[in-house]
Symmetry: C2
Subunit: 329 residues, 2 copies
Amino acid sequence: MATIRDVSREAGLSIATVSRAISHPEMVSKASLVKVSKAIEKLQYKPNLSSQKFRKQRTYTIVVLVPNIANLFFTEVISGIEDAAAKHGYHVLLGDTRDNHQREKDFIALVESKQADGLIQLRPHLPGVSDSFSHLKAVNVAGCAGTPYSSVRIDNKEAAEKAVGYLISQGHTRIGVITGLKDNSHTIERLQGYHNAMSAAGLVADPTWTIEGDFTLLSGWQGAQAFMRLKDKPTALFCMNDEMAIGAIKALKEKGVSIPDTLSVVGFDDLPFANYCDPALTTIRQPAMNMGVKAAEVLFQMIDGQAPQQSEYVLPFELIVRDSVKAPK
Amino acid sequence: MATIRDVSREAGLSIATVSRAISHPEMVSKASLVKVSKAIEKLQYKPNLSSQKFRKQRTYTIVVLVPNIANLFFTEVISGIEDAAAKHGYHVLLGDTRDNHQREKDFIALVESKQADGLIQLRPHLPGVSDSFSHLKAVNVAGCAGTPYSSVRIDNKEAAEKAVGYLISQGHTRIGVITGLKDNSHTIERLQGYHNAMSAAGLVADPTWTIEGDFTLLSGWQGAQAFMRLKDKPTALFCMNDEMAIGAIKALKEKGVSIPDTLSVVGFDDLPFANYCDPALTTIRQPAMNMGVKAAEVLFQMIDGQAPQQSEYVLPFELIVRDSVKAPK
DNA sequence: CTGAAAGCGCTTACAG
DNA sequence: CTGAAAGCGCTTACAG
């Protein structure tokens, strides 16, 4: 592989001039520029970026920490990050942690060891584990309120409140909920929204109506089974993500429950599949792609040495009304 | 940030010894090892990997080229790659190309410019565009037969043949197909399998039964509309991926077609959602995760300078029978 | 506008 | 087992 030295020899110029011709062409004469480009052409020279990075102490690489890449919501956020990265000349190193703390640490070490300029964490901040971020250039995306570093998210509490409020507006008074793992911050915030909506309408939320899931299809399916065993069944069900809603609908239909005639269901996220299930799912749309773009842009700013204007960017969500909700009989 | 020089000063040893203590502890005395580790501890030293990489001319990074990260099948393959990478001490740089050739070239340049040691292409090989791979360490995963460099895949033709053969074995003789884009190699191979299965059973495949899609939910939905307009409707439909099958089922149900009673449907891939649609989808399961693992391992071997044992690794697929197929009336 | 030289942080023959 | 030194490929003050 040709190096800058080969090019300088071929062009009959110093390596300094060759380097400038590439990085700062305005500092070099036209004649030299021509010689250099001819030499580059002839030798098929590609600058060794590894060397450039090392020299500049800047990698133009960011790491994206994600608990599980096989998740359509995360994946859409990552698309946004990739787009912004491509636009700004950055690359993204994928950190699929699978909730493995060692793996998470390894990726953080990448930033610490100058392999990457910064980091985006895609999930709620975990106190304890990810506190090590504080000394890094890092931003949290799709997390929760109170993240101790810059974050881009929606207001989960309000969104849940809106989802449940919509069910109430359709006449439902007995509303169940399938949550994520109970310690998860998203669960906590969305559950708060659920309770807020209920009490704002003067309704009581029976504790047995709250069923714990873990944001997977399977847990939605299982949650619905638990729901069916309730003696005093609600007429509507709020699922804290679309995957659980889809799992729940499956289980409900298996038991002969007709949706939305007997039971209304609302999801959260608006995955592409939400529009293709039967009935099409009414859900909260998070601006996943935009969240990714925004998070990346905030990070690039930080890397450039500017403090972000805000410590939190709260983006708007939207209620998407489709066919899974109907007034109770 | 502390450098190796700081550590050497702190430990009262040369930087050479410090370097060895870290990379080749067996070459260093116990006493020195202790001094070094104390100094590292005290200074919170992290080796600058950017420098190490540059020095070693080895990045321990691979790029994964994927047309679209927001695709559950791809994402599962990537999980496999990530697992293998973590195990072997590699990192993965995500190349979400969005079918943009410029972006694809940029990522290839990353390997050429020594930013990454090799590349995995997740999609069928595109003659012309990706010919530039030939001089790189590259492997193709989930592509097609005849890829001009190492590849890991299933036999698409046989898999399609099996899917269609299953419909035939259930008594269907009139079978339609929703394909991907017609120039796509997967489309071509799977279509061949479809025709093979038909003619092996002595059946004729009416050309109007072949409807072009593009592997998206929407195109499956649209394809089913086109299907409904057929005068002489088949009793079964083979969709070249699960997304199109799910889209098609949605459209069919909207038109009041009962599945599988009136029409049987088979998919391809076995996405997590396949088991949660209504009816649960009978489909071909690709070993996505394993394909990712295998592709990564082959690449790591190549990077280590060993030629792969085989130029093609053809992994087994599986027909998953669920509820979307029934004998025709 | 150009070149000689220092140096980014490490690793590794070489000599001891 | 250890250290002095060269060098990986580039960039950038500095001097001209």
